[in-house]
Structure formats: structure tokens, C-alpha cells
């Protein structure tokens, strides 16, 4: 029990992170694409397509953060000080974004909130990518505590991860709009999705090659034999899905491009897990090094396992309830 509890918790937190990235990803993506809308009615259509979901989507971040705090307190105590500035910038951007979204609906003059929605969505996305990059490139740790400086995370690699995530979320947003809207908004989103798909593939290739070049331990994990025999399908399937995503967008399909984008994100996450497992704080602390006592992990796990199915159930219900497309001038906020 001592050794597999941390694995279960790592899986719970991994699930929360994946759910967050995919679900808040598409609504952050709407924010990133916001300036490309031509008029207020198009912007209304875009925000209406995410209105029933966006605040629920963000709560996965809470499960990820609180889960890390409770189940892996020593990892939390290292990661948060190391990535303090990007994490706080992300949180403040998310506060602004939620407020801009809601106040935009009730204000007479929407321009300020429109700009705020775009800027805060983009800043939050870049900060999330930087946090991810900061983790991958490694955190300096001495005696179980963070031992680096406040700007250790600020490397070209981390900012490349930030830009990759902007492209990725924008692609999620564009394919979401293709699926959930009609008319000029959906038409433009289809064109954007093609360009963004190319950008995402370029960024994925860049980060995937840069990471092993920078981190010998990750190169070792992927390219040593026999590992490579088992791992080559990951990039191969990624390429295959990217090809089909392109075909589906070209053919004017509505749902498959969004699902394909989700699959690309899942494969990216799988690549991350393969690169870094069992490290929670690369390159020094594993899930077992940083785990809380079994009593704490079990106590919290009982609550999580009880509530998670309920949460998933009502999320499914909400997506079902608001299924279908948002037409121009229609509201279900």
C-alpha cells in the first residue's frame, strides 16, 4: 500500500491536469482568438459557445493544485517557490479573465473588457506553458527545498513552451468554434484551425527535439534500446492523427477536428509522462520521495473517489444539456 498510493494520487492529479488543459484550453483558446472576430455580435456568439462551461472547466486547476498540496506536500513546497512568479501571474490573469467575461455581458461599452479578455487569456496561457517548461527543464533542489533564484524558470525553452501552448489552446478554441457555432464565425475558425494545426505541429516537433537535447536523461529514456522499440508508436500515432485532423478540417467536418486536437494533447501529455516518470520534481524528487503519509493520502482519496464520479456526472450532464450549435443572436447564458 505504501508504494502504490502515491501512484494513485499521481494518476488523480494527472487526470485533473489533462482535464484542465483540454477543457479550459478550448475556452482560453476562444480568448486568444477573440481579436479576430469582426463585430460585437460575433464576439457574443463566441462567448456564448463557452458560457455554460468555462467556470466549471477552471475548477480542475483547483483539484490539481489542492491534490498536489495534500498528496505531495514536499513537491508542492519545491514547485511553488521555484515557479512562484509565473504561477501568480497566471492566477491574476485568470481572475481578470473571469471578470472580463462576466462584466462584458453587462457593460454598455464592451471594448475594454474585450481587450481584457484577450490579454488575460493569452497571458494565462503563456504562464501555464512557462510553468510546464520550468518543470521539464528541472528545478534546483538542495535538502528537499528549492535552492535556486526567482527567475530560474525564465529560459528560451520555457518561453517556447509558453508559445506552443498558445498555439495549442488556440487550435482547441478554433476547432471548438467549428463544432459549436455557425455562419461566419465557424467559417473563419475553420481557416484558423488549418494554420494553427501547422503551428502546433512545428512547436510540438521543436519542443520534442529540444527536450532530449537539453536533458540527457530524457534522451536516454526515449532513444536507448530496447525503449525505442516500445516508444516509436507515440510520435508515429501523433503524425497520423495530425494528418487526419488536416483532412477532416479540409473536408469541412465539424466534430472530428476537435476530437483529433484532444488526441494530440493526450499524446503530448503521454510524452511528458514517459519523459519524466517517476519524477514529480525533475530531475531529483519522485512521487515516492514527496508523498504525504499514507493516512493523509487515504483520507483525501476517499473524499476524492466519492466526489469525482458525481462531478464527472454533472459535467457530462451540462455538456449534454447545452449540446448543439450557437446561432447568431442566440443566448443561453
Amino acid at each position: 500500500m505504501e508504494w502504490y498510493l502515491p501512484l494513485i494520487w499521481a494518476a488523480v492529479i494527472g487526470t485533473a491536469v489533462v482535464m484542465y488543459v483540454i477543457m479550459d484550453g478550448f475556452d482560453l483558446g476562444i480568448g486568444i482568438l477573440f481579436p479576430t472576430a469582426r463585430n460585437e455580435s460575433e464576439r457574443d456568439q463566441m462567448t456564448r459557445s463557452i458560457a455554460p462551461y468555462w467556470d466549471g472547466n477552471e475548477t480542475w486547476l483547483v483539484l490539481g493544485g489542492a491534490g498536489l498540496f495534500v498528496a505531495f506536500p514536499k513537491a508542492y513546497a519545491v514547485i511553488m517557490p521555484a515557479l512562484y512568479l509565473p504561477v501568480i501571474v497566471m492566477l491574476i490573469a485568470l481572475v481578470f479573465r473571469g471578470v472580463a467575461f462576466e462584466f462584458r455581458h453587462v457593460s454598455y461599452s464592451k471594448t475594454g473588457w474585450n481587450i481584457g479578455f484577450f490579454v488575460s487569456s493569452t497571458v494565462a496561457t503563456v504562464a501555464q506553458g512557462v510553468v510546464l517548461g520550468g518543470l521539464i527543464q528541472g528545478i534546483s533542489v538542495r535538502d528537499g527545498a528549492f535552492s535556486g533564484g526567482p527567475f530560474d524558470w525564465a529560459t528560451p525553452f520555457a518561453f517556447a513552451c509558453g508559445l506552443s501552448l498558445v498555439a495549442g489552446y488556440a487550435l482547441l478554441g478554433a476547432t471548438w468554434l467549428t463544432m459549436k457555432t455557425e455562419g461566419p464565425v465557424a467559417e473563419r475558425a475553420r481557416g484558423q484551425a488549418k494554420m494553427l494545426l501547422v503551428a502546433v505541429l512545428v512547436f510540438m516537433a521543436l519542443v520534442s527535439l529540444w527536450t532530449p537535447l537539453k536533458q540527457p536523461r530524457i534522451a536516454e529514456r526515449w532513444f536507448s534500446l530496447p525503449n525505442f522499440y516500445f516508444l516509436w508508436p507515440v510520435p508515429f500515432v501523433t503524425a497520423l492523427i495530425a494528418y487526419y485532423a488536416w483532412r477532416w478540417i479540409e473536408a469541412g467536418r465539424e466534430v472530428p477536428p476537435f476530437l483529433a486536437t484532444i488526441a494530440l494533447f493526450l499524446l503530448g501529455f503521454l510524452g511528458l509522462v514517459i519523459s519524466n516518470f517517476p519524477y514529480l520534481v525533475p530531475p531529483s524528487l519522485t512521487v515516492w520521495d514527496t508523498a504525504a503519509t499514507p493516512a493523509s493520502q487515504i483520507f483525501m482519496l476517499l473524499g476524492t473517489l466519492l466526489l469525482l464520479p458525481i462531478v464527472l456526472g454533472y459535467i457530462g450532464f451540462v455538456y449534454w444539456l447545452f449540446r448543439g450549435k450557437v446561432r447568431e443572436g442566440e443566448s443561453y447564458h
Partner: protein
């Protein structure tokens, strides 16, 4: 963190022993009841203020009367109840965090009964109070229910183990003053209602119309009392705040704190602006009357709110 329980210390680190004891720790029921009641009182006085404004302006008379009746009915019960809950909470704090209580009362010498200071300027260097206006033995009477009862003073512990006395002392005075005002306002309102002159007593309505903020200030003051009062501990008796800091440089903390202040300043400014606009527009007809049904109370509320704002 105020009254930690259910843990065991091994090698300087606290491990959970019994989760139910951790959650239902000695001060939990008092804090929970006191805070929950405070939230209802805060809302009650906002409703009271808005209702009073409509009545004074001669608008939405029916709704305003309902608002006044609901708010006074609620606060006339809860405001005195809060005095009782606060007293019990204080006795609990005296048992587990006596130095916090000493700071709340600015009580230095534990060998003498404590006076209740209506005003004082605690001199933390000299360990005495300046310019004190006091009710002799008032604190002893409240805390021990005896005129000559003794309770620990601030001087019984070294200065390094005391909270910042002025902050705790004055925040507690603000909370007490607002609490007393709430009791007086609610009871007098109930008296006017009983006399049948509540809706015509304009001076009372004018005062109430300006009192929407008092609950918020009282809640924040109470929070300052309890959190500053437990200093220098972050987990009482186990971990000092100074030993609990992260390896984050002060400049990062100062910079992000400034960001938070700016962000919340903008957000709350606009929030208050939109809420005021909503109040100025007044209540709208409910969905059933306008013939438009919303699937849930929340979306019905949102629809009417949005309608009111966009008018």
C-alpha cells in the same frame, strides 16, 4: 491552525493521527457558528439598507417593506445571538490562546483583575496603556464571570511571544462597536415595527440606508483579531510564522502583492459599480409574470439581473 489537535510530532514535523479530531478541533464549533452568523448579519444589513433607500425614495414600496421586514426579523434574532456566540468563542479562546485574549483586552498584568478599556493606546515598549478610558474590572466580569476574576496578562510571556497588541486591540474594538450598533439598530427596528411606525420613521431609515457596509468591516476586523492575535504562531504552539516562510525573495512577494492589490482594486471597483447600477434600477418583475420561464432559479436571477443592467 488556531487550536491544532489530532496530530503527533515526529522529528519536528506534524503528522495526522486522527482526521476527525483534526477537523473537529476545540475551537471549530465556535468559529463556525460565529462566522456563519456574521455572514447572515452582513447580508441582513445590506438588505436593510437597500430597502430603506427605496422607501426613502418612494420607489418599489411593496418590495422595500418586505425587505425591511425580512432584514429586521432576521437581524433582531441574530445580532443578539452573535453577542452570545462571541462570548462563548472568547471563553474558548481564553482557554486555548490566552495571550490572544490578553491582546484583545490590552491586559498586561495578570495578577490584577482586568478592566474593560473603551479606549486606550497600548504602549508595547513600556507594557502599559496610555489614555485609557475603562470600565473597572469589566474584562474580568466578561471573561471569568467574576468581578475579581484573574486571567493571564501580556506581561506573563516574553515580548517575542506576543502578538502585535495595537492591531488586535483596535480591530477587536471596531468589531465590538459594530456588533453593539447592529444589536441596537435591529432591536430598535423591531420596536418600531411593533409600534407600527417602522416605514414612517425617516431618521431611522436614513441611518439604515447608510449602514450597508458595517457587516463587511466587522467581518474583516474579526478576521484581523483572530489571525493577528495568534501571532507569532502560524500553527499555534507548533510552528512560528517566521519559520514557515518559503524560499521566495521579499521582492517577489512585494511585487506580486502589488499586482494583487491592483487587480482586486480594478475588479472590486467595477463590481461595486455594477452592483450599484443594479440597485439603482431596482427589482424587476419575476419570470412568471413576464411569461418567460427560466429552467433554474439562478438563470432566472441572472436573466432579470441582466435585463435590469442593460435597460
Amino acid at each position: 491552525m488556531q487550536t491544532p489537535a489530532g496530530h503527533e510530532l515526529r522529528g519536528g514535523i506534524a503528522y495526522p493521527r486522527d482526521w476527525l479530531t483534526i477537523i473537529f478541533n476545540p475551537s471549530f464549533p465556535y468559529r463556525f457558528a460565529h462566522m456563519l452568523n456574521a455572514a447572515y448579519l452582513t447580508t441582513g444589513f445590506v438588505v436593510l439598507a437597500v430597502g430603506a433607500r427605496y422607501l426613502l425614495a418612494g420607489r418599489h414600496i411593496e418590495e422595500a417593506r418586505t425587505m425591511l421586514r425580512m432584514a429586521i426579523g432576521l437581524t433582531a434574532v441574530l445580532a443578539p445571538l452573535q453577542l452570545l456566540l462571541g462570548d462563548q468563542h472568547g471563553l474558548n479562546t481564553l482557554q486555548y490562546q490566552p495571550i490572544k485574549v490578553a491582546a484583545m483586552e490590552a491586559h498586561w498584568d495578570g495578577s490584577k483583575p482586568g478592566d474593560f478599556h473603551i479606549f486606550a493606546w497600548p504602549d508595547e515598549e513600556a507594557g502599559v496603556n496610555r489614555f485609557a478610558i475603562s470600565i473597572p474590572r469589566g474584562s474580568s466580569l466578561v471573561l471569568t464571570h467574576h468581578m475579581n476574576g484573574l486571567f493571564p496578562g501580556l506581561s506573563s510571556v516574553p515580548a517575542s511571544d506576543r502578538p502585535p497588541v495595537k492591531v488586535v486591540f483596535f480591530a477587536f474594538r471596531i468589531m465590538l462597536a459594530i456588533g453593539s450598533f447592529m444589536i441596537a439598530a435591529a432591536m430598535y427596528g423591531a420596536y418600531l415595527w411593533w409600534r407600527g411606525t417602522l416605514f414612517e420613521t425617516r431618521w431611522y431609515l436614513r441611518v439604515m440606508a447608510q449602514s450597508w457596509w458595517i457587516g463587511f468591516v466587522a467581518v474583516i476586523s474579526g478576521w484581523v483579531v483572530t489571525e493577528s492575535g495568534r501571532q507569532p504562531w502560524i500553527v499555534h504552539g507548533i510552528l512560528r510564522t517566521a519559520d514557515a516562510t518559503s524560499p521566495v525573495p521579499g521582492a517577489s512577494i512585494a511585487g506580486t502583492l502589488a499586482l494583487f492589490v491592483i487587480a482586486y482594486g480594478i475588479v472590486f471597483w467595477f463590481g461595486i459599480y455594477y452592483i450599484n447600477r443594479l440597485i439603482a434600477h431596482g427589482p424587476q418583475k419575476v419570470a412568471a409574470e413576464t411569461g418567460r420561464f427560466s429552467p433554474s432559479p439562478i438563470s432566472a436571477a441572472q436573466d432579470t439581473g441582466r435585463e435590469a443592467l442593460q435597460r
